[in-house]
Amino acid sequence: MYTSITDKEKKEMLGVIGAASVEELFADIPESIAMKGSLDLPGSLSEMELEAHVGALGSMNRQVAGFIGAGAYDHYIPAAVDQLSGRSEFYTSYTPYQAEVSQGTLIAIFEYQTLVARLTGMDIANASLYDGATAVAESVLMSMRANGRKKVVVSGALHPNYRSVMKTYSWASDRLYHEVPHRAGVTDADLLRESIDDSVACVVVQNPNFFGSLEDIEAIAAAAHSAGAHCIVCVAEPLSLGILKNPGEMGADIVCGEGQGFGNPVGFGGPMLGMLAARKEFMRRIPGRLVGRTLDADGKTAYVLTLQAREQHIRRDRATSNICTNQGLCALRAVIYLCIVGNRLRELARLNHARASYLRRRLLDVGFRKMSDAPYFNEFTVAHERAVSIRKGLLEQGFSFGLPLGDYYPGMEDSLLVCVTEKNTVEQIDLLVSKIQDLVRG
């Protein structure tokens, strides 16, 4: 229990209030509603008991050598990220309404906005959204607010969960959703071009896409722009921005996606970090918090939440979005991560790619088929007629090898989406491949 009013104090306080009992303070709750008995919850645990109990629950999870990405990337987190973001002046504060005692959060978010804008090649970025999926959905709504059109054209190689969320949001907001199938793991540019007309607000494509392949963003952006539509590029693996040409350079108008890979754990899928960046013409339409630079009463530089006239607490039903909080602490972790790793991010990205290419080559050597020859970053799709049983055998030996794609793409039951990060050492990859060889032979 974390309350600390003693019985003596309670009596004094009730005296000041002029009430005979605490119960009297609840008098406005009608008798018919007031709870009679006690809640049926498990009994209270001491701190030590709680830690043991939760530890036992944790041991029901199996910690494995993981080769799965698919929107959550298990990258190494430098110690400084945990230490600094764990300072309670950061994590026990709230949205920086009182700027004078919130410069720490405000400056960190301003730096985050700067880094996201730079990495994506955009002019501005917001202070974060919930996750990659909702960032895409919000990007589409922002595009529609800007050009007044109601239809979105979506690549079938966008993360299936993101597509599901977009469908939910499109239905809810009475927008039209149109999906263009992929061809051998890349967006079909011809079909895409045919789907775009002047009713289309925007085109959404992921890069690297869900299958791990790099898309021809320049061609897709050109197709979108020729019909006056926006090109939205979604990035689910932010580390790819460390090495690839940024989406802005390739013609994107809005870049959104998942920033978890920057200093945040996979954490069973949440909290994640929704990134949203855009060209400056979207500045007054962007959802979520924005931090801007200003001056204090002495003329000193200071930072403050700004352009709040867009937001729900001022504009209510005419706001750009209903978003209230962001993922402040995850954004803080991302900015610390990016400062610690700095431009070594490129080296780290190269390492991820090299080891992914090494595993892919070894898998092809032991009988896996590649899905395509498209270039990839740290994730790729391969197939094997015994993929399901191989995976099962590996799980028993402590390897979580790839995501089976059959649930997401009917007909792809033999395909696995495999991811390699710096946490997968060459020794671990070799061991994995030797186990696969045993299973293939056996």
């Binding site: 530890g55 944790g58 969320v165």
Partner: protein, 473 residues
């Protein structure tokens, strides 16, 4: 303080990346690559000092009382942070096989059951924030009437509502109409009666409301809505006041969300991440967002086979590590501790109210629940709510929520929470008394506040007039 970019010099960063140990078998073609260097080039020591010093310019619950009304800034137990960082939870991949994540699924399943016991509803833990829960709730309303074959376009929202309420409804295509409050701070039932017709899909009400008052006509409002075929949405932002004392289901609500970061004490993180589980009455459970954690004969699993669902609303399953903290909080408190939350929160708030109402104008003269609203109406010498809130910072407290709810001019909304000691409440009372004295005798002190903070009063107008949102050197 300078931004980190000002320390950047080429070649400073010495962070070591391991050797790949493998050749690149499929080099990425040059046309896909960039050689830009967009990140700061600084040393680890500089990074550590920068963010340590930034933290010193921040104020959190661990620094002192944070009476930010409607945000429930209570103490965040340290053990919950430790629990959320253990690798057997933090390191679990969301796409891993169900048999490898039974611990995570069990936590989610049990937490949903606890929330069900506390409120009387059935829960989906997918929404990542209160506003996200609200949006999903508005989608449930939409889906329900679509299934009923009824075109209802209006969502009613009281003038006391959080801004997210109308914004969430509008995102689902509803027209929002505002219901006025009466002078006692309750919904004006007569006005509501006039507004109810076949076009009203739902009404949203925070309970207790944002004046910190329990609406005395709540059951009557619920009955009126139900007779009209409308749904009643409960914004659970203020659940802290009633947890263990009354259930939202029994108040007549059909749908609600809970802000886990408020009532169940997960840290607010400088503005998130939160979590906003969505609860509905059994009859609406089929509409809940997917997946739902279910229990089968082979253990827990993620159930997607729900044909009437509004659909998926999150990349994965919501903010799991936040849910884990809330789970730990409920387990540490037990049933008595949970009830004690509400009792102590309401006691603390009423003690502050009784002590401050002679000093500041109290727009609605009633006992409160977990929070209450004062105003600057009677302040002399042109001292405003904004001035008072800035002066409070000088005395080492965070400020209450100001200028909300909107229908109270110059509102000052105070929520102490149950984790404040009587000593800190008394210290806050003394500060508020002193600021009132200053307003009469030395008003410039209040109008020029704050003076002791890392920066002086910040000008929001300059920021909005020519927005600078990124550092450009």
């Amino acid at each position: 303080m300078d931004v980190i970019f000002k320390h950047s010099e080429p070649g400073k960063n010495r962070y070591q990346i391991p050797e790949p140990g493998a050749d690149d078998y499929d080099p990425i073609p040059g046309k896909y690559l960039s050689d830009a260097s967009p990140l700061p080039d600084v040393t680890e020591v500089e990074v550590v000092r920068h963010f340590t010093n930034l933290s010193g310019m921040n104020y959190g619950v661990d620094n002192g009382m944070y009476p930010l009304g409607s945000c429930t800034m209570k103490y965040n137990p340290k053990i919950n942070e430790r629990i959320a960082s253990i690798p057997s939870f933090a390191g679990i991949h969301p796409m891993a096989d169900p048999e490898a994540v039974q611990g995570c699924l069990k936590v989610l399943h049990e937490l949903a059951a606890y929330l069900g016991e506390i409120t009387g509803m059935v829960f989906s833990l997918n929404p990542a924030a209160g506003s996200h829960g609200e949006l999903s709730g508005a989608m449930v309303v939409k889906k329900y009437f679509q299934d009923m074959g009824q075109a209802r376009h209006v969502v009613l929202v009281p003038d006391t509502a959080h801004g997210t309420n109308p914004a969430s409804a509008a995102m689902c295509g509803f027209t929002v109409k505002e219901v006025p409050s009466n002078s006692d701070g309750d919904v004006d039932v007569e006005k509501l009666k006039e507004m109810l017709d076949g076009d009203v899909a739902a009404m949203v009400l925070t309970s207790p409301n944002t004046l910190g008052l329990f609406d005395r006509n709540l059951r009557e409002i619920a009955d009126m809505l139900h007779r009209n075929g409308s749904l009643f949405y409960g914004d659970g932002a203020n659940l802290n006041a009633i947890v263990g004392k009354a259930r939202m289901a029994e108040m007549g609500f059909d749908i609600m969300h809970i802000n886990l970061h408020k009532t169940f004490s997960t840290p607010h993180g400088g503005g998130g991440p939160g979590a906003g589980p969505l609860g509905v009455m059994e009859a609406l459970a089929k509409y809940l967002p997917v997946p739902i954690v279910a229990q089968g004969k082979d253990g827990y699993y993620l159930d997607y086979d729900r044909p009437d669902t509004i659909g998926r609303i999150h990349s994965f399953y919501g903010n799991f590590l936040i849910a884990l903290r809330a789970y730990a909080y409920i387990r540490s408190l037990g049933p008595g501790g949970v009830r004690n939350i509400a009792e102590t929160a309401v006691l603390n708030a009423n003690y502050l109210l009784a002590s401050l109402k002679g000093l500041y104008h109290l727009p609605v003269e009633r006992r409160c629940m977990h929070e209450f609203v004062l105003s600057d109406r009677d302040m002399p010498n042109g001292v405003t709510t904004n001035d008072i809130s800035k002066r409070i910072l000088d005395y080492g407290f965070y400020s209450p929520t100001v200028y909300f709810p909107l229908h109270i001019e110059g509102a000052i909304m105070i929520e102490p929470t149950e984790t404040e000691t009587k000593d800190s409440l008394d210290a806050f009372i003394r500060v508020m008394a002193e600021i009132r004295r200053e307003a009469y005798e030395e008003p410039e002190k209040v109008k020029n506040a704050p003076q002791t903070t890392p920066v002086k009063r910040v000008d929001p107008v300059i920021a909005a007039r020519r927005p600078v949102l990124v550092w450009e050197g």
